[in-house]
């Protein structure tokens, strides 16, 4: 992992950051820096320690060991001052079902010490921004999942935060709702808001993050831009091969076939990964590799050539799929 120089103006600065719950270590000595205006991501499967890291950054969960500063402040002693400048979009919506859409924003603005009229002014503006103006006076309960998420984002922006923390912002949303949300986050980024998000969707990380760390089992296993990570850990393209599976076969490929296929692909690929339902062949040129394998007599049931993604990086680094 490349060493990140500690900078004075890092928005978030973590060294050896650790979180323990009793005997369980949720975050095990991670190092990272987030620069102002950057979109920084934590990519990893459930239970990798992403949420625990976010909660420590959010100054709501005490650091067990190591150093952490947010805006140059210490979360243990200056938590309220850090939270005053943060926007947080938690995994669970935590909206107040006893209040209307507008009231949810109004009262949240009051929690940040805004005067009523200022809170109301910002709430109106934010409802416009997340396209919920026509639902202002509605109850929260009947809103769709995507609308609730947008409302939570509006709520997180009521204090005009310099840093927005988003924990799995689009989990459980349909594609249309996700794209709308990504668009809003992209606009925030353009306005100079620093974004820090966790996700287990590689497309989300690729869409939103300038830089990310891959987390697995409480540790950071790689760090870089999505493009850097793909260049460093996998080939440009992937050839996906599926074979007809017969009764009693495991992994779609009969054991004796497996050796045969390996032989047919020998020298054609940089690396081969066998998944339960398919074979991933890592190569610079998928079409050329497919043609060469066909030449040697390989007859898969289906062939797909695609660009490598962070999912492949994760598979390479951990030997496991991201979403299981």
């Amino acid at each position: 992992m490349p060493e990140i120089p500690p900078t004075q103006d890092s928005v978030i600065h973590a060294r050896g950051l650790t979180k323990c719950f009793g005997a369980m270590t949720a975050v095990d000595g991670v190092d990272f820096d987030v620069a102002p205006g950057e979109a920084f991501g934590f990519l990893g499967p459930n239970g990798a320690g992403k949420t625990s890291t976010m909660r420590m950054i959010g100054a709501v969960s005490p650091v067990s060991a190591g150093t952490l500063t947010v805006f140059g402040l210490d979360p243990a002693r200056q938590g309220a001052r850090i939270r005053a400048r943060l926007g947080v979009v938690p995994q669970a919506d935590t909206l107040d079902n006893e209040l209307t859409v507008m009231e949810n924003l109004l009262i949240y603005g009051r929690y940040f010490g805004l005067p009523w009229n200022e809170s109301r002014r910002r709430a109106k503006e934010l409802l416009e921004f997340v396209q919920l103006t026509d639902r202002s006076n509605d109850q929260v309960e009947p809103l769709s999942g995507g609308m609730k998420r947008r409302l939570v984002i509006a709520r997180a922006l009521i204090n005009e935060p310099a840093l927005l923390l988003l924990d799995e912002p689009t989990t459980g949303l349909d594609p249309q709702a996700r794209h709308l949300l990504w668009d809003r986050l992209y606009r925030l980024k353009q306005r100079g808001v620093t974004l820090c998000l966790t996700t287990h969707y590689m497309d989300e990380a690729e869409q939103l993050c300038d830089r990310l760390v891959v987390m697995d089992k409480a540790k950071i296993v790689a760090e870089g831009s999505p493009r850097q990570l793909i260049e460093q850990y996998v080939t440009r393209e992937v050839l996906e091969l599926r074979f007809n599976r017969d009764e009693g076969e495991v992994g779609g490929i009969a054991a004796d076939d497996s050796a045969h296929i390996d032989h047919q692909l020998d020298g054609l690929a940089e690396r081969i990964e066998q998944l339960p339902d398919r074979l991933l062949v890592y190569t610079a040129d998928g079409d050329a590799t497919a043609a060469a394998a066909f030449e040697r007599g390989l007859r898969p049931a289906s062939i797909l050539v695609r660009r490598s993604t962070l999912e492949d990086v994760f598979l390479r680094l951990t030997g496991r799929s991201l979403v299981e």
Binding site: A84, P90, N97, L99, F112, R155, L188
Partner: protein
């Protein structure tokens, strides 16, 4: 939008700017939506109790020799019922609604992401419960007045006594709520704790009529002290030492509850 909020050091703020009041404000905003139902139940409950117990049951009590000093039964139980109703509401409010804010709707978690800390959540919601207790007591007192069941001007002191009694229940129950993962224990608490207290803390009959072994139990429960204090004052029977003891016991429960809740709230919410 991205303007970095000024990070000036916190200046000395007036009391109303304290973060705990923001939580109270939230609760009042919710209350504003439902005030009519609070008003309706706040007036009908005392009416029904006073008619059935005070007048109905009172008819028999008064006829069969009555109470010492010729006190009408209605005047005897009215201040006790007032205190009990405030206590019941406080006990309820510090159980299920708090559990929801911690565990079900998790609105506390949203508030914790703002400068408001766990202790201010506790303080704010305790103030709300205090507000509710006062509201209930004032409405109850208005109904008592309407029934003409007041023997002394001191009777109005039943309202602050009810407030103190409500807090002496609310604070320890809030402390307990923050230790619970589900609401299962609340059913037990109410079935075997709150309801028996309501029945046996001297509300309907003097605890001297309880079996001897149960009397010390009544002394250590805060409700007995709230009821005895409110009743004594309402009947114009001031007993300086006894009354101070009552206040001290109620205060002790409230203070101990707050101290315990400060610990359990932080333990639960700041992990």
């Amino acid at each position: 939008m991205a303007a970095i909020a000024s990070a000036s050091s916190a200046p000395r703020l007036p009391l109303a700017a304290h973060p705990a009041f923001r939580i109270l404000e939230h609760d009042l905003l919710v209350f504003r939506r439902r005030w009519h139902s609070y008003l309706l139940s706040g007036l009908t409950q005392p009416f029904l109790y006073l008619v059935s117990m005070g007048i109905g049951l009172g008819l028999y009590v008064n006829r069969s020799g009555g109470l010492p000093g010729g006190v009408p039964y209605l005047n005897y139980i009215a201040p006790a019922l007032l205190v009990t109703q405030a206590m019941m509401a406080a006990a309820f409010e510090s159980a299920w609604p708090i559990m929801s804010k911690i565990n079900w709707e998790k609105t506390y978690l949203a508030a914790l992401n703002t400068p408001i800390g766990a202790t201010n959540l506790l303080a704010g919601d305790l103030m709300w419960i205090a507000f509710r207790a006062v509201l209930i007591s004032v409405m109850f007192f208005a109904v008592i007045l309407a029934f003409g069941a007041v023997s002394s001007p001191l009777a109005v002191l039943a309202v602050p006594v009810a407030l103190l009694t409500a807090l002496s229940f609310a604070a320890p129950i809030m402390a307990f709520t923050a230790t619970q993962k589900t609401d299962q224990a609340f059913n037990m608490l109410f079935r075997f704790g709150i309801t028996p207290l309501f029945l046996f803390s001297g509300t309907f009959f003097p605890i001297e009529k309880l079996p001897l072994f149960m009397q010390p139990l009544a002394w250590i429960t805060p409700l007995y002290h709230g009821v005895a204090l409110a009743r004594g004052l309402s009947l114009g029977q001031v007993d300086a030492v006894g009354d101070l003891v009552h206040v001290a016991v109620l205060g002790a429960f409230a203070v101990a509850g707050v101290l315990a809740a400060r610990i359990t709230f932080r333990r639960r919410l700041e992990v």
